[in-house]
C-alpha cells in the first residue's frame, strides 16, 4: 500500500511540473502535420526578418481538423494563423469568426493578380475575402499504360471525349495475361473520406455537360435538370450496367481506388499530382500516363478546384503579426515550396519541382478548375447529393428519381 502511494505521489508531481502555460505573446500558426517542418523553417526565416515577433508552429492532423478549428473559433481562444482546406473557408467565414483580409493584405504588399482567380473565389463570401489561398490543385485522369497496351489500346492516345472514354473503359475491363481481373475505371462510391471524394470525382461530369447541383447564382437547384441527370447517369452506369468499375465501388474512397490502381485491378482513376507520387512510391513498376479529364463531345472539360487557404480568426490575439506572416507566405516562391501540389500564386509554377511532363495535364486542368459553390449550406448539400448518388449506385431507384428526391431535399435546406 505504501509503495502504491509513493508511485501515485511521484506521478502527481510529474504531472504538475509539466503543466506549463504558453506565452500569450507568441504568434501561433496552425499548420498541418505533413507541412510542419517546412512551416518551422519559414517561421524561422520570418522571425529573422521581424525580430519583434515570435512564431510558434503547432501541427494539426487531418482527422477531426474541422471540429478542432471550430472549437477554437467558437470558444474565442484561437490561434493567429490557420491552414484550412479551401472547401471549408466559406462555411467558416459564415460563422462570423474570421477576419476580412483583402485590405490588410493589399496594404502589406500582396499582389492578388498573381493568385489563381478560382482560388480567390474559394475565400470570397459576400464580396469580402476571408482567406489567402496558398495551394491549388485539380484532378486529371491517371492511367496505366501497361494495361492500355495489353488491351490493344494506344497508351499515348488517352481518351479525350466521353465516347472515347467509354470505349477505352470497356476495352480495359478484361482478364489480363496474368489471369487477373482488370476494371477500366474506378468510380468512387463509398468509404470513409466522403462525401468529398465522390463529389470531387462526379460533380465535374455534371459541369462539363452544362449541369450542376446548383445554378450559377447558387439559389436555383439544377441537380435534376436533363444535363445533370444525363451526367450522373453516365457516371453511375459505369458501375451498374456497364460494370467497368470494380464490385467494391460502393466502399471505395480515393485511397481505396489508388490501392486498386496500384495492384493493377483498376486501369484509370482520377487523381491529383500527389497521387502520382504515391503510386510511383508504392508500385514503381507501373508505367503511368496522365491526361486531362475527358469531356462530352463538343464541350469543354471541367474540374473542382481543390487547395488550401490561410485564415486569420477575428479573435486572434496577434492579428497584425499574423497578417505580416500571411503576406510573407503569399510570396510565389515560398508557396511553391510549401504546397504539396501546386501553389495558388501562379508564377510559383515556374519552380523546378513542377518541371515534370507527368504534371502537364494537371496544369492544364487547373485552367478549367472551378470552386465549389460559395454558400454555407454546401457541406449539407454535398451530403444529400452523395446519399442519393449511392441510392442510384445501389439501383434502389433510377438516377432521375434519385436526383429528383435530392433536389427536393436540397431545396428545403436552401429555404431554411
Amino acid at each position: 500500500m505504501k509503495r502504491k502511494t509513493r508511485i501515485l505521489a511521484a506521478g502527481l508531481a510529474l504531472m504538475l511540473s509539466h503543466a506549463t502555460c504558453a506565452s500569450a505573446a507568441d504568434l501561433v500558426w496552425w499548420t498541418m502535420n505533413w507541412n510542419e517542418q517546412k512551416a518551422k523553417d519559414f517561421a524561422a526565416e520570418f522571425m529573422k526578418e521581424n525580430p519583434g515577433i515570435n512564431v510558434r508552429v503547432e501541427a494539426n492532423v487531418a482527422g477531426g481538423l474541422q471540429s478542432r478549428i471550430l472549437v477554437a473559433l467558437q470558444s474565442g481562444s484561437t490561434p493567429d494563423l490557420i491552414d484550412v482546406q479551401n472547401g471549408v473557408n466559406i462555411p467558416l467565414a459564415e460563422t462570423g469568426k474570421l477576419e476580412p483580409l483583402r485590405d490588410h493584405l493589399t496594404a502589406a504588399g500582396v499582389n492578388f493578380d498573381d493568385v489563381l482567380p478560382a482560388s480567390l473565389d474559394t475565400a470570397t463570401f459576400n464580396g469580402e475575402l476571408y482567406g489567402l489561398p496558398f495551394q491549388a490543385e485539380a484532378h486529371a485522369l491517371i492511367y496505366n499504360k501497361g494495361a492500355y497496351k495489353e488491351a490493344g489500346l494506344d497508351p499515348d492516345k488517352p481518351p479525350q471525349t466521353w465516347t472515347e472514354f467509354l470505349d477505352s473503359a470497356k476495352a480495359l475491363t478484361r482478364t489480363n495475361s496474368a489471369g487477373q481481373k482488370v476494371y477500366g475505371y474506378g468510380v468512387s462510391g463509398g468509404g470513409a473520406d466522403q462525401p468529398g471524394n465522390a463529389l470531387f470525382r462526379s460533380l465535374p461530369f455534371m459541369w462539363m455537360n452544362g449541369g450542376g447541383i446548383l445554378g450559377p447564382d447558387n439559389k436555383e437547384v439544377t441537380i435534376n435538370s436533363p444535363e445533370s441527370v444525363e451526367a450522373v447517369k453516365f457516371y453511375v452506369d459505369l458501375f451498374t450496367t456497364l460494370k467497368v468499375s470494380p464490385p467494391s465501388t460502393l466502399e471505395n474512397d480515393s485511397n481505396a481506388l489508388r490501392r486498386l490502381f496500384q495492384v493493377g485491378n483498376v486501369a484509370m482513376i482520377p487523381g491529383a499530382t500527389s497521387d502520382i507520387e504515391r503510386i510511383r512510391e508504392a508500385a514503381p513498376e507501373i508505367e503511368l500516363g496522365v491526361a486531362p479529364l475527358p469531356h462530352p463531345d463538343g464541350k469543354e472539360t471541367a474540374v473542382i478546384l481543390g487547395g488550401w487557404n490561410f485564415i486569420i480568426p477575428k479573435d486572434a490575439p496577434n492579428k497584425e503579426a499574423a497578417i505580416k506572416l500571411a503576406a510573407f507566405m503569399a510570396n510565389a516562391g515560398r508557396q511553391a515550396a510549401y504546397t504539396t501540389t501546386f501553389p495558388a500564386a501562379m508564377s510559383g509554377l515556374q519552380a523546378q519541382r513542377f518541371n515534370d511532363p507527368l504534371m502537364d495535364a494537371h496544369k492544364t486542368m487547373l485552367q478549367h478548375a472551378r470552386p465549389q459553390p460559395a454558400i454555407p449550406q454546401w457541406g449539407q448539400i454535398g451530403q444529400i447529393y452523395y446519399n442519393y448518388l449511392q441510392e442510384a449506385l445501389l439501383e434502389g431507384s433510377t438516377v432521375q428519381e434519385a436526383m429528383d428526391a435530392a433536389a427536393e431535399e436540397i431545396k428545403s435546406v436552401l429555404s431554411q
Binding site: G190, A192, Q377, E391, L394, Q416
Partner: protein, 286 residues
C-alpha cells in the same frame, strides 16, 4: 444501517458529485441554451427541434440506431459472459489467454475500424479471400455495400471490440464468488450448467445490471466504428443518430441544431435509464 441525521452515505458520495457537477453543469446548460437559440444567439423557440425532426431520413436513422444498439449490446453481453465464465476455469495458459482476449478492446478504435474495413473490402479484403478459398462463397460478397449485410457487419465489429470489457467485468465478479458455493453444489454432483445458472449468474447480477446499462449508453453514443468504416452509407443504410449530431455540428457547422438533437437524444436516453433503474431498484429490495 441508516443514520438519523445526515446519512454517512452522503459524505461518501459528496466529492464525486461535486467534481462531476463542476465539469458537467456548464456544458449541459450551454447545450440547452444553444438548442433554443439561432446562430446569432437570438431566441429561436422550437425551430431547431422542428428542423431536426422533420428530415426525411429521420425514421430510417432511428430504426438503424435501435438496430445497432440492441444488436451490439446483446452480442457484447453474450460473448462477454461466455468468455468471462470460460476464462474463470482452470486450464493451462489461462493468464496468457486472458491477456490476449483483451486485445480487441485495447486496440485504438480508429485503427480497429480501419483494419476491419480493409478486411471486409470486397476486392482486396482477407475475409472474402478466405471464404472463397474455403469454397463457402463463389464470388465476393459486398459486406459493407449491401444494405442487408452492412449493419450485421458493423454490429459484429462493435461486439468484437467491446466483448472483452464485459468479460473482464464478469471475471472480476466471479473472483469474489466464495469457493464454498461451488463446493456445496459439486458435492451434490451438479453439472457445469447448473453452476452457471444457479451460482454464477445470480452472483453476477448486480455487475451485469451495471454493465448492460453502460454498454447501452456507449452504443448510443458510439460513432467511431460506423463513422470511420462506412460514414453511415450506403445511402444512409448504416447512419445512426449520434453521427448525425456530430456531422451537424462539425461538418455542417449547425451547432444550434446539433444541440437540439442532443437535447432530444438526452431526454430519450434519460427515459430509458429511469425505466431501467426502476426495474433494477425494485429487484434490489428483496
Amino acid at each position: 444501517m441508516t443514520s438519523r441525521n445526515i446519512s454517512p452515505g452522503l459524505w461518501f458520495i459528496l466529492p464525486t458529485m461535486l467534481l462531476l457537477a463542476t465539469l458537467i453543469i456548464y456544458p449541459m446548460l450551454s447545450t440547452v441554451e444553444l438548442s433554443l437559440t439561432d446562430s446569432s444567439g437570438a431566441f429561436a423557440g422550437m425551430r431547431n427541434f422542428n428542423v431536426a425532426i422533420s428530415a426525411p431520413s429521420t425514421r430510417l436513422i432511428l430504426f438503424n440506431t435501435a438496430y445497432y444498439v440492441i444488436g451490439s449490446v446483446v452480442f457484447q453481453l453474450l460473448l462477454g459472459i461466455l468468455a468471462g465464465i470460460l476464462l474463470n476455469q482452470q486450464f493451462a495458459g489461462r493468464s496468457v489467454v486472458r491477456s490476449l482476449m483483451l486485445i480487441p478492446w485495447v486496440v485504438p478504435g480508429i485503427v480497429a475500424a480501419m483494419t476491419w474495413a480493409w478486411m471486409f473490402h470486397t476486392d482486396y479484403g482477407i475475409i472474402n479471400y478466405m471464404l472463397m478459398q474455403l469454397g463457402i462463397i463463389s464470388e465476393p460478397v459486398g459486406w459493407l455495400t449491401d444494405p442487408d449485410t452492412v449493419m450485421p457487419a458493423l454490429i459484429a465489429v462493435n461486439a468484437w471490440k467491446m466483448f472483452p470489457f464485459v468479460a473482464v467485468m464478469v471475471l472480476a465478479g466471479l473472483q469474489s464468488v466464495p469457493d464454498e458455493l461451488y463446493e456445496a453444489v459439486r458435492v451434490d454432483g451438479a453439472s457445469f450448467w447448473h453452476e452457471i445458472w444457479h451460482i454464477m449468474l445470480p452472483q453476477l447480477q448486480p455487475v451485469l445490471v451495471s454493465v448492460t446499462l453502460l454498454l447501452t449508453i456507449w452504443a448510443l453514443d458510439g460513432i467511431t466504428i460506423i463513422y470511420s468504416i462506412t460514414g453511415g452509407g450506403p445511402a444512409n443504410r448504416s447512419m445512426i443518430f449520434p453521427i448525425q449530431i456530430y456531422v451537424q455540428a462539425f461538418e455542417y457547422f449547425e451547432f444550434n441544431r446539433a444541440a437540439a438533437m442532443a437535447v432530444l437524444y438526452f431526454l430519450f436516453i434519460a427515459v430509458i435509464i429511469v425505466l431501467y433503474m426502476r426495474m433494477f431498484a425494485a429487484q434490489d429490495k428483496d
